[in-house]
């Protein structure tokens, strides 16, 4: 079969042409080769001295390898990330000139073209580094596995960086800073404590003999985040009035449904005695909470008015309409889906997880641990629901809904802190009661503060439920407005 340029994505061809015409490309190529050659020459110059001092030359392999990967990383950031990001931003700055709005390509095709062009450039850069990696291998001090692992992590890092760059590019310049601050607020404590908590509570405690499980967890979370950024990019590239969050909602559902597969795979990792059922249930439980948090996060950005284009896609049968409500654009559907995930997770905790004291049984986590994780989802729901209520109640139309939620994220922890301080004043709690202000740090608490953990674990669902009660009229109104025009 003859392969012509017609077989390739138009955006890929355009991007590569623009890359090769750009001055940055030539400059980066030159710097990349210069840096690596310079490293080789410096190492060569030092070799004589090292041998004269009776040192081995085995340290030179890792040095060259590290230098090659670092220069590869810098070149990737410059060409794949910054260059692509700025071009993407420029293309989207004027909606009238944004080709994603008026050409016949779907957002998926456009994003795929952008991504593949970045990957193509990354592979090209890596191929320029390969001769130096081979030299590094022959200089000794490195095994093939070391090199493969190093390159693999560099590639995963590049994948992540490219997704983030495209995400920032697709936001456009209008709301860029605000949205990034919002994401930082939402994710800073959560991501940091998740990683720390998983490591301290679940991994080291169970004394797993090798690094395979942490590696699996890291890869799982890395690909979950990369996938989520990808579907967010798709949403940002879709027309504002299209059913733009549908891919993200489907992603969260798929994440929850496919998570048992990951649990199943972990159970089959050699040398790790993990009980099958417990691991699969735990994985599904965690995935439900993650999906709930992601749904709440997206719902904070969504509109509350259903446009005619979404209405046209709405099925006419009542049951299908309800299903469509959960995956269609609109904060109401997002919050409802997040609650469904939370309730499934809650049911799993109440019915299946062991009670306190059974933490070291066959289950990877105890009921208290599970409640702690669950509180993430409830807190996310709480923030989004209050944001929606305030935005609708005070008719803050000129401000985006996410801005209200961002303010809430700052305000609610303070409120909870004040409430807790007032309620438990004089009971002699240690500094850890400060942690009551946010669930994001609960996971890192030690066992001495279990009482506090319990309080917070009940605070979050209670407040989330109360906020849901307030948000319900708006959610119901959105559901009623989502009907096919022929039914109106």
């Amino acid at each position: 079969m003859k392969i012509t340029s017609d077989s390739f994505n138009p955006v890929l061809i355009k991007e590569l042409r623009q890359h090769f015409h750009g001055k940055l490309f030539l400059i980066t190529m030159g710097l990349l080769l210069f840096a690596q050659l310079a490293t080789v020459f410096i190492l060569y110059a030092n070799m004589e001295t090292a041998l004269a001092n009776n040192h081995t030359i085995e340290a030179m392999g890792p040095a060259l390898f590290t230098a090659s990967l670092v220069t590869f990383g810098i070149a990737c950031v410059l060409l794949c990330c910054i260059s692509s990001l700025s071009r993407f931003m420029q293309e989207r700055i004027n909606p009238e000139l944004d080709f994603s709005r008026f050409c016949a390509m779907s957002p998926l095709q456009i994003l795929w073209g952008k991504m593949t062009s970045c990957y193509a450039i990354a592979i090209y850069l890596l191929s320029l580094c390969l001769p130096f990696l081979v030299i590094a291998y022959f200089l000794r001090g490195l095994s093939i596995i070391n090199i493969a692992l190093g390159v693999a992590f560099a590639i995963i890092g590049t994948l992540f960086a490219i997704q983030v760059a495209l995400f920032i590019g697709s936001i456009g310049q209008k709301n860029l800073i605000g949205i990034l601050v919002f994401i930082a607020l939402w994710g800073s404590g959560g991501i940091a404590s998740l990683v720390a908590g998983f490591a301290s509570r679940f991994l080291y405690r169970s004394a797993i003999p090798n690094f395979i499980l942490p590696l699996c967890l890291f890869l799982f979370l890395a690909f979950v985040v990369i996938g989520f950024i990808f579907v967010l990019n798709l949403a940002l590239l879709s027309a504002p009035f299209a059913n733009r969050t549908m891919p993200a909602r489907i992603y969260t559902i798929a994440l929850a449904l496919l998570s048992p597969t990951f649990g199943f795979c972990v159970c089959h990792v050699p040398k790790i005695p993990m009980p099958m059922t417990e691991t699969i249930v735990t994985t599904f439980f965690i995935a439900c909470v993650i999906s709930s948090c992601l749904c709440s996060f997206i719902a904070a950005f969504e509109r509350s008015v259903i446009g005619p284009r979404v209405q046209h896609q709405c099925p006419q049968q009542p049951l299908k309409r309800l299903g469509f409500f959960l995956i269609s654009s609109g904060s109401g559907g997002g919050i409802t889906l997040a609650w469904i995930f939370q309730l499934i997770a809650l049911a799993i905790v109440l019915c299946l997880f062991p009670t306190r004291g059974a933490a070291y049984s066959s289950w990877p986590m105890s009921k208290v641990d599970a409640f702690t994780i669950l509180s993430f989802g409830f807190a996310s729901l709480l923030y989004t629901e209050i944001g929606l209520c305030i935005h609708k109640r005070f008719n803050m139309m000129p401000f985006p809904a996410w801005l209200t939620t961002a303010v809430i994220i700052c305000f609610i922890p303070l409120l909870l802190f004040a409430f807790a301080s007032f309620t438990y004043e004089g009971k002699g709690y240690d500094f850890s009661h400060l942690l009551i202000t946010t669930p994001f740090f609960l996971i890192a608490l030690n066992d001495n503060s279990l009482e506090i953990t319990d309080i917070v674990c009940w605070f979050e669902p209670f407040f989330a439920l109360v906020a849901f009660g307030f948000a319900l009229p708006y959610i119901f109104k959105q559901y009623l407005s989502l009907r096919h025009p022929s039914n109106s």
Binding site: T4, D6, P10, V11, I13, K14, R17, Q18, H19, H21, G22, R87, Q90, E91, I93, N94, P95, E96, L97, F99, R101, F102, C103, A104, M105, S106, A239, F241, A242, G307, P308, R309, H312, M397, P398
Partner: protein, 343 residues
């Protein structure tokens, strides 16, 4: 192809940018879209080009709804915004090639289409130039070429001639004429009404989001003539009084149902003599003396009645050196219909 805009409404908060607009036009026609700044032209055009969605109403391209099938509409419509292409590090042919690929053109078909479009828009000589180095006029050509690259049946253009030099403007308008002759439906928004009048078959006039008038250009001009008489009653012909000379103006006459024909008559001398002679004619309703050597006659009749009227003047020895039937221009129509208020 028939393009129907049906009860289009677009609200931004409490403001109605477009307020229940309906009109239609067909293939082979150039339709002017006229209105003051902030009238809602660009909003309407964006909805038609699927860049925005209406709050209510819809736009149909031969029964294809822009709301239900925006992807299909994008293949039918070529949209030329008033902004210029801003891609960096890309040559003219690469830019057009990208859009051709994006619309699914492949292989030899794509190459031939690109060659044709480049030749039509006179870009062949600059195809190897970078887009960022082009002048505004050249970028407009590239923008037009981009809108044509998938051979759309409908062209929607927002201020395509804005900022162009006279030569580029004339060339652009002649290209549009050719495209209309090829059977494309063209909706053209512009502020240069005299040029629109030369090339348009019809026009839509909007103000403050509301439709003021729409239809074929002849009908618009004709109805504007009627509206002029209805809205600004002319001074009546002074009637000689019994005392012999009093030419006091009488109250305005009632609105006339049929349109009047305005005739400009240029004379060598004796304007008063000519005026008196004209007053004898029963079909003459009003005479304005613009200057000592020019009169404007409002004449209630058809084109068939003009030669006998002029013949009677010649027979009476009036020193006439020329005459012409006066017609209203699009600018006159626009000025009379719109109020100039901004939302």
């Amino acid at each position: 192809m028939k393009i129907k805009i049906e009860h289009l409404i677009r609200r931004f908060g409490k403001k109605n940018a477009v307020n229940d607009i309906s009109f239609e036009f067909e293939s082979g026609n150039i339709f002017g879209f006229i209105g003051p700044n902030g009238a809602g032209k660009t909003t309407t055009i964006k909805i038609m080009a699927t860049l925005d969605q209406p709050t209510a109403g819809d736009v149909f391209f031969d029964d294809i709804s822009t709301i239900a099938y925006p992807e299909k509409v994008r293949r039918i419509v070529g949209y030329m915004p008033d902004s210029l292409p801003a891609f960096t590090d890309i040559k003219v042919w690469e830019y057009l090639d990208f859009y051709a690929r994006a619309f699914g053109l492949k292989g030899e078909t794509r190459r031939k289409t690109l060659a044709d479009v480049e030749a039509f828009t006179n870009l062949t000589g600059i195809r190897e130039k970078f887009l960022s180095t082009l002048s505004k006029g050249m970028k407009q050509r590239v923008s037009l070429a981009r809108a044509l690259v998938h051979n759309p049946q409908v062209l929607i253009m927002d201020e395509p001639a804005a900022g162009l030099d006279p030569r580029a403007r004339i060339e652009l308008l002649s290209l549009l004429k050719i495209l209309a002759e090829q059977g494309k439906a063209i909706l053209l928004s512009s502020h240069i009404l005299s040029e629109l009048q030369d090339i348009c078959d019809g026009a839509v006039i909007i103000e403050q989001g509301r439709l003021l008038a729409s239809g074929p250009l002849d009908h618009l001009l004709e109805s504007a003539v009627q509206n002029r008489l209805a809205s600004t009653p002319p001074m009546a012909i002074p009637q000689p009084t019994a005392e012999g000379g009093g030419a006091a103006p009488t109250p305005p006459p009632l609105v006339m149902a049929s349109p009047l024909i305005a005739i400009t008559i240029r004379i060598l001398r004796d304007a008063e003599q000519v005026r008196l002679k004209l007053m004898e004619h029963p079909s003459v309703k009003q005479i304005d003396i613009n200057s000592p050597l020019e009169l404007v006659v409002q004449f209630d009749g058809t084109d068939e009645d003009i030669p006998p009227l002029m013949a009677s003047l010649f027979a009476a020895g009036c020193p006439i050196v020329g005459f012409s039937k006066q017609s209203l221009g699009l600018e006159d129509v626009f000025m009379r219909i719109t109020t100039g208020e901004v939302q």
